[in-house]
Amino acid sequence: MATTEAYRITERRRVTMTGAEATAEAMRQIHPDVVAAYPITPQTDIVMRFARFVADGVVQTEFVPVESEHSALSAVVGASAAGARAMTATSGPGFALMHEILYVAAGYRLPIVMPVANRALSGPINIHGDHSDTMGSRDAGWIHLYAENAQEAYDDLIQAVRIAEHPEVRVPVLVGQDGFIITHGMEIVEVLTDDEVRAFVGEYRPERYLLDVDHPMTVGALALQNSYFEVKRQLAEAVRRSARIIADVGEEFGRLTGRYYGLTEPYRMEDAELVIVAIGSTAGTAKDVIDELRGRGVKAGLVKVRVFRPFPARNLRDLLGRARAVAVLDRADSYAGLGGPLFAETKAALYGLPQAPVMTGYVYGLGGRDITPEMIAAVYDDLGQLAERARADHAAVAAEAALSVRYLGVRER
């Protein structure tokens, strides 16, 4: 078919694309059996493009344009249990509407892959990017990957299929990308060939599935006090185990593309004293600021957290153990909790280290509020002062900083 040919990629290309476009392209190349979806900004751009692929006969995927996100994930659970490679995509309120079924998908150990265009949650309604959506369901049992840019959104989605379907994992994977900033920002993305992607993800061969009618199975039985806990314990074990698989898949992907992926990505951390920990596109901004500060002799560094579940506690301990002061940036608030989710968990990861750095948390960028290089530079300034103060009385300064959460870039009056 002529149209099919027009879409086919037979040589690697560097193309200008948005994150949404890159995601749709990855979905085309992965070629899932079933995609169910419901529109929501800023995710819509992904499924609109995918629906176009279906309409043009470029993919043979069954596309199910459902009547809500709740049904999108419900249908994907049905399709995945039936034996299909199944995907959906969503954002913010759509993700929240799926909340109940997120647990079902994970509890049933279905290897579903879902791009999420991270978006704020109402009220007030806001369509822009923050991490309140996925962080709000961080305990649903899904593996969380977060992309820094369109390239990673593309690369992560392809790897997510392998991670989710790995026989030792079988856990659904979500791939977050910052709404608008990544989904709608134009970048240069290197796109693999269709054959490379197909070979990398391989064919999906479920062991047991509903459509195998000669071997009937019951999926989603009622589990009472005598079995429910074991199911969830096994899920925890699988998510924990996935750390190694994620690293292996990231390594294999690196051999193919030259782009290697791990649970975390250290940036100029060899001798870093003042360190920011962040997720998503903000990490890219921080890298630029670090280069600039390094030019002025500031020993600044960054740890980008790519994988939030399983939480890379050991990596963080190894990377941050020698820093003097650490700032954790959260694009989601926990409203008078002990900081945003990333801050709270990073602190917990470092607990008990004899030389733990002083740590402080920042909430920023809610509802798509800009985070500028100046703001990030100001955080490194704060860290410098904090480290100085800690020289005099480390214990007292560290204790106080651990409880302090600052709001970056918000009008306080």
């Binding site: 059996d33 079933v34 169910a36 043979q60 995927t61 069954e62 199910v64 344009p65 459902v66 009547e67 809500s68 709740h70 049904s71 999108a72 419900s74 249908a75 994907v76 659970v77 049905g78 399709a79 995945s80 249990a81 039936a82 034996g83 299909a84 199944a86 109940e100 079924i101 079902v104 509903l210 459509l211 195998d212 009618v213 009937p216 199975m217 019951t218 999926v219 989603g220 039985a221 009622l222 589990a223 009472l224 079995s227």
Partner: protein, 316 residues
Amino acid sequence: MPTLKELARRPNPLTGGHSACAGCGFPQAVRLVLMSIEEPVVVAGATGCMEVTTTTYPNTAWTVPFIHNAFENAAATISGVEAAYRALRRQGKIDREIRFVAFGGDGGTYDIGLQSLSGAVERGHRFLYVCYDNQAYMNTGIQRSSATPYGASTTTSPAGEAVPGKLQRRKDLTAILAAHGIPYVAQSTIAHWQDLTRKVRRAMEVDGPAFINVLAPCRLGWGTDPAMTVRMAELAAETCAWPLFEVDHGQWHVTYVPKQKLPVEEYLRPQERFRHVFQDKSGQLLAAIQRDVDEQWEALLAKAGQAVDGKAASRA
């Protein structure tokens, strides 16, 4: 059309040993529906009495593939299963003819699951949705649903001094499904096995979504003798409180017209949930219920183009 003997020889999709109450109506609905289908089936079920009593891990009463997802999404779930079937069949990974059935109670169908059901049938998936209607949320302890009939006492619409049970009419879900313009919609009961099995066969023939609403009395919620379950379903049809009909490609047919329409009292009297109706000496509540039943029955006959005098022929 299978005979009763043939039906009885079919493999049992739902084995004994499930934990539904003795005399419960839904197992009958499940068996009659699934045993009428000759092709292999995959079944989805909503949360409710059916699901919790048939799938208590590590046991399952289902001998056919079965999936339970949540309370409100049996229709969305089966639409995903059916989409997977279409995809895998097109790829040549499956070469069998397989059929798809979803079951939900009235709560999971008339109320919280209505959106998912409406969406799934609108999209035209080829599956049969069966509502086993016992007219309340039984699994959580007999609360009113929008399927609960006028005047019935439930734990969230209890009959008291000031309020005589449920104040609203039962939602006409079958008509709502018919309004979707899908190929086949019907209403039957667990007592009318021939009527029900014929309707299931018809639902399997049509190319697209089908819906059957099956009255499946709950002896606990209705407060009836376990031995009376089938009789209660019969009485529902004899009094026209639960008419049997079908809407086949838009054509309405009443499939059972009682030779002599019994007064609704005969159906209500054995049920504890209507006890207060008979304690009301004024008889006003009973009269209101009768009026409601008559009105709805006549409206149905008119829609089906059948005579109001009850002389029209039964198709069943």
